[in-house]
Symmetry: C2
Subunit: 310 residues, 2 copies
DNA sequence: TGGATTCGTGCACAATATCTGCATGATCGA
DNA sequence: TCGATCATGCAGATATTGTGCACGAATCCA
């Protein structure tokens, strides 16, 4: 309902470049450029100025973007209240999540909605947590299941999103089968401080999680190799290249050659899995219902996992 | 910046019919109809239902319209703050007012702006007070000078507009030249309670003003004839058909046959002339500047009138 | 330093959305 | 029952908006 051009400006403010905005929104770069030009013309304001080979926001542009968060949240709230007023639901619901979430949480939700709300056309997208938030802003999806870093979201995201914690997924250690610690039922992270570690590249959510886990015990582990996928990491570990951290919920196809050991300790590392929606939309019946289902499903999963192995 | 379809819905909520909405917005009726249909489709909500030969809002529609006021005000505020952030002004400014206001207040303002802000394209519209407010909502104009009834605006208009009082225009009495009271310098409204009165039709702003003036002294005067224009009323009075109330600022071409007498008394009747803008837009530099000019101009006019005849 | 890359923008053309004018059916008032 | 008013749908015209490509500018890398 907010003008498309203003939405584009917001996304541009997040990305910083026209090209990235185009990719995120699905427009071509020239369309984004034209939209921003047209926005400035119709408002009679200069919003962008050249900066090197790119463009950056002027004071007026920044002011506009800052206030736009409130505007969008107000609209979401209004839309939600209108749905409530007649107990109607929208015809489409887009949901995004990272791999594990997509498999364990969103798939059951989609199945549930297909039964309970057959009129709603559900669309699933698998994407990395950071990308999910961008898709949320761009309104490509309406609900995202992401890994929250300990620090939480970026500060300015508080005005864009609302979150619900779904579950705290504990991190296990995977070590080669012939590792001295492989037989243990539990161990402490401190015991592994001297190991060679395998984790994701700098800047990723998993790396941030990894760093935070060791920061909590005052250690700075040695990172020997990088892997993006759990399967890859598992293979590396199996080859004796090092050890790694693996979320409890991540199930591996083949565990040959590796051994999963639980971490003990007062505050053993976990990854917090949260559902995020655009601020204001949480009041919408369909969103509320979906979030409740996700919380129940998360609780169910936790119960199953506890039963599986204490 | 708010979607055109939602704006149309708001205006429809004011008018009640598609046809009136079309007239006010400048669209054709089928365009309005199509916009509302499209709005419902894109929101996945039913907003209208058939009612006789017209349509009326559903609960969801009413909820949407109610909240839209806040949304629009937030946008106006945001736009104004963005203008302030770079000290820029829009390229166009529409202003509306009823006849006297258009002549005495808006014309000097337009002249002032042509000198001070040559880049701004100024547009003047003469329209009745009620219509001015509709034009304000429809964004055909950005500033309106209207007569405020004692009761103020309608209650739900408070969320749509902000007002500034420009001046209190006292009401004089015009009587036939040969009337017993014609020579008096001042007189009290009570002395005229038994006269035959000439005023505008039921439902008009002037009629409301008239009624309020007599209600204040607990009288219900006898209305003998109706006239829309001051000139018409003056002619009626000159023909001996009755007496009438005439605002001080209303200057008549010919005053032959009639005599203007001032009203005395603690709270002699006045019409309050106010400037109204869309809520939120008062922070915009150009609007603020215009309002200040209008207040000064109003004060100047009052001084001149006071000098003319104490 | 020079070539490759990335970025934003403009233009011609295509696709889409939107408006108008008219015809139609429904409803209301006289 | 007739005329007026109202909303809506459709066909065609119009305006808006998007795409693909080319270009110039700025940056990066070797």
């Amino acid at each position: 309902m907010i003008d498309q051009r203003l939405k584009t400006l917001r996304i541009f403010a997040n990305c910083g470049t026209v090209a990235a905005t185009a990719e995120l929104t699905g427009y071509s770069p020239s369309a984004v450029s034209a939209q921003l030009r047209e926005l400035q013309r119709s408002l009679g304001m200069q919003l962008l100025s050249k900066e090197g080979r790119g463009v950056r926001l002027t004071a007026a542009g920044r002011q506009l973007v800052r206030g736009a968060d409130t505007l969008v949240a107000d609209w979401e709230l209004l839309r939600a209240s209108a749905f409530n007023a007649d107990d109607q639901v929208p015809g489409h619901l887009g949901m995004g999540g990272f791999s594990t979430a997509a498999a364990h949480l969103l798939a059951p939700l989609a199945q549930h909605l297909r039964v309970e709300r057959p009129a709603v056309e559900v669309e699933l997208v698998e994407a990395h947590p950071e990308h999910c938030l961008n898709l949320l802003v761009a309104e490509r999806i309406d609900l995202a299941v992401i890994v929250s870093t300990q620090a939480g979201l970026r500060s300015d995201d508080d005005s864009k999103f609302e979150q619900v914690t779904l579950l705290n997924d504990p991190l296990d250690v995977i070590v080669p089968k012939d590792h001295p610690l492989a037989g243990r039922s539990h161990l402490h992270l401190e015991e592994l401080a001297g190991e060679q570690w395998i984790t994701d590249a700098e800047g990723s959510v998993y790396r941030a999680l990894f760093t935070a886990a060791f920061a909590a015990i005052g250690q700075m582990p040695r990172i020997a190799h990088q892997a993006k996928e759990w399967e890859t990491m598992s293979a590396f570990v199996g080859a004796g290249l090092g050890v790694g951290l693996l979320p409890r919920l991540a199930v591996l196809n083949g565990l040959e050659g590796v051994s999963r050991v639980r971490l003990a300790g007062a505050n053993h590392p976990t990854r917090r899995i949260v559902a995020a929606v655009r601020r204001g939309s949480m009041e919408a019946p369909l969103i509320r219902e979906s979030l409740e289902f996700l919380q129940e499903e998360a609780a169910r999963i936790l119960r199953v996992r506890l039963a599986e192995g204490g």
